[in-house]
Amino acid sequence: MFLTKMALKNLARNKKRTIITALVISLGIVIFLVSDSLIVGMEEISIDNNINLLTSHLQIMDKNYWDNKEELPLNNLLDDNLLVVNQIKEELDIEKSTKRLYFPANINNGREEYPISVIGVEVNTDSEVFKLEQYLLEGQSLKNGNNAVIGKKLANLMGFELGEYITLLFKTKEGTFNTIEAELVGTLDTSHPEINEYHVYIPLQDAQNALGLDGKVSRYFFRLEGKEESIPVTNEINSILNRKSSNIKAYNWEKLSEDILAMTRQGNIENLIMLIVIIILAAVGVINIVILSVLERLEEIGMMKALGLKMREIVYIFVIESAGIGLLGSAVGIIIGFIGVYLLTNIGIDVGSITGGETTFGIPIIDRLYGGWRPNAFIFIFFFGIITSVLASILPARWGAKKDPVKAIYHK
């Protein structure tokens, strides 16, 4: 306790140096917190986009369909007027739901073919669950009758203009080839690569007819009040489904967003790089300050050794000083970081003007990027700053404490 107090008093000996070193640590911490906030913000946007455009809050489908869902199979489908769906909606008070039939096809413009996914959507309910309409670039949204909506990029790729007819070539469940001719009534620009390039939306009825799958759909989709409800609601739905001992199961958006989770992992790598930057900043600052202090206080170290302080007690003094600097730097960093993150979450940054409206890091962003809060990041980085300072000080402090007392006292 006495040595601790003395060490903290030492911090005031060279105030300028202490403050500069602490501020270097603060800077690293601010960079970390701001970048973490942006990553959280991006995650949030891309998760919301994914929910609005691809997954919805939760889906129900046949367990066997789930296993092969990437191939958009035509077996293990569901009836398009499942009683249990009505029961779920009533029991759990869910209003918004829709259903879709997916199948693989090739799109043809008379010269070339391109593999895509066709999505048969129920025209009057789809917009309750999905927000495709908001991203309509040209034309209008899907209506009943022989029409289709596709992504902007796919339209450009194939050279389709609005009003032209697109041709879809595919295999029915029986294995015979069939085609659909549909008028292109709208193009979407969602900046979601998958929708932009690979999705063709047609009315559910047309899809069912052409595939010979009347009354069948691949999955049901539900929109809830908020995404945080999806886990409890999914569990409740599953317990209803289990009661019926059916082969149908509900899956929430998290389970359906593996690619988004992969992106989160990438975000974590960016954070890791930030952490390494902080380690280097803090370590260089702390090592530097400890070495300077040792050189300045050689006589004092020698005298303390003469008084009977052991090597580890001298190391302790320098380590505590460094911990003090780490604490100071972390605290200031947290405060400035808090202000920075506050501004980021409330005002955001104008990414549209920076990137020219193009996709940013594969994440669909409309125009402004807002940061997000992750309180754990603040707690983590606070201790991280202190611990890094402490660890960085140990080696130079040992170097100082090892100095021969005689030489230290008479070093002149």
Partner: protein, 236 residues
């Protein structure tokens, strides 16, 4: 009663390829409560000898015994630290004090790290010793607010506050003017008489010799004279 015994101590410093023989075979015995002056010109080996006695350095050969039996050569670094902490007091020429601590705290340091007595007793001890070296009222001053003589008195108080077996003072008056030197030596002598503390201090200043009760003169790392009592030709 013998407190300290040196047996044929030699110390050789390696300076590059040259061996410097700083101490060339010194044997002597110091009794409890003695007030010993080590006198010799600069470079004669006084500092080296005091550092060996104070276990800050190890002799190249020879043995140092405390209390008749304790061999210093057998102690580990940590044991030597503890030995210094509990038994020895040091007074150096300058840069003696910790600049961020007050006079009170500097003195307290020596018993703080021993941690044997309560806060209240500790406080009383520190105040008493500061008073007896004449620093009453200056307890809260930092070293940079004290004169050279006052700083040296704080150092004396710090060396004495733990009632050490032995106080080693390497040219404690070297940086002081003659008047202040006398003050400091008076206090050391007074404490020796009052507390019975054993003192060994070194000097190259003949002026200071008259404070000697036992005078050991060294030259080129050897004892050339060892006189006390009646044999001392300096007047008291």
């Amino acid at each position: 009663m013998s407190l300290l015994k040196l047996e044929n101590i030699k110390k050789i410093y390696q300076q590059g390829k040259i061996d410097v023989q700083a101490i060339r075979g010194i044997s002597l015995e110091i009794k409890k409560s003695e007030f010993t002056t080590i006198f010799g010109p600069s470079g004669s080996g006084k500092t080296t000898l005091l550092n060996l006695i104070g276990c800050l350095d190890k002799p190249t050969s020879g043995e140092i015994y405390y209390d008749g039996s304790k061999k210093l050569s057998t102690l580990s670094k940590n044991e030597l630290s503890d030995f210094r902490r509990y038994n020895l007091g040091f007074i150096f020429q300058g840069h003696n004090l910790i600049p961020v601590l007050t006079a009170f705290e500097n003195v307290e340091f020596a018993i703080r790290i021993i941690n044997e007595i309560s806060k209240k007793e500790r406080r009383k001890k520190v105040l008493d010793i500061l008073k007896s070296v004449g620093l009453e009222g200056l307890e809260e001053r930092r070293p940079n607010e004290l004169s050279g003589g006052q700083k040296q008195r704080v150092a004396i108080a710090r060396a004495l506050v733990k009632n050490p077996k032995l106080v080693l003072a390497d040219e404690p008056t070297a940086n002081l003017d003659s008047e202040t030197s006398e003050e400091v030596l008076d206090i050391m002598l007074k404490m020796n008489q009052k507390l019975g503390t054993t003192f060994i201090f070194s000097t190259h200043d003949p002026q200071v010799m008259r404070y000697a009760r036992r005078l050991i003169e060294i030259r080129d790392g050897k004892v050339t004279q060892d006189k006390q009592g009646e044999d001392l030709d300096v007047p008291h």
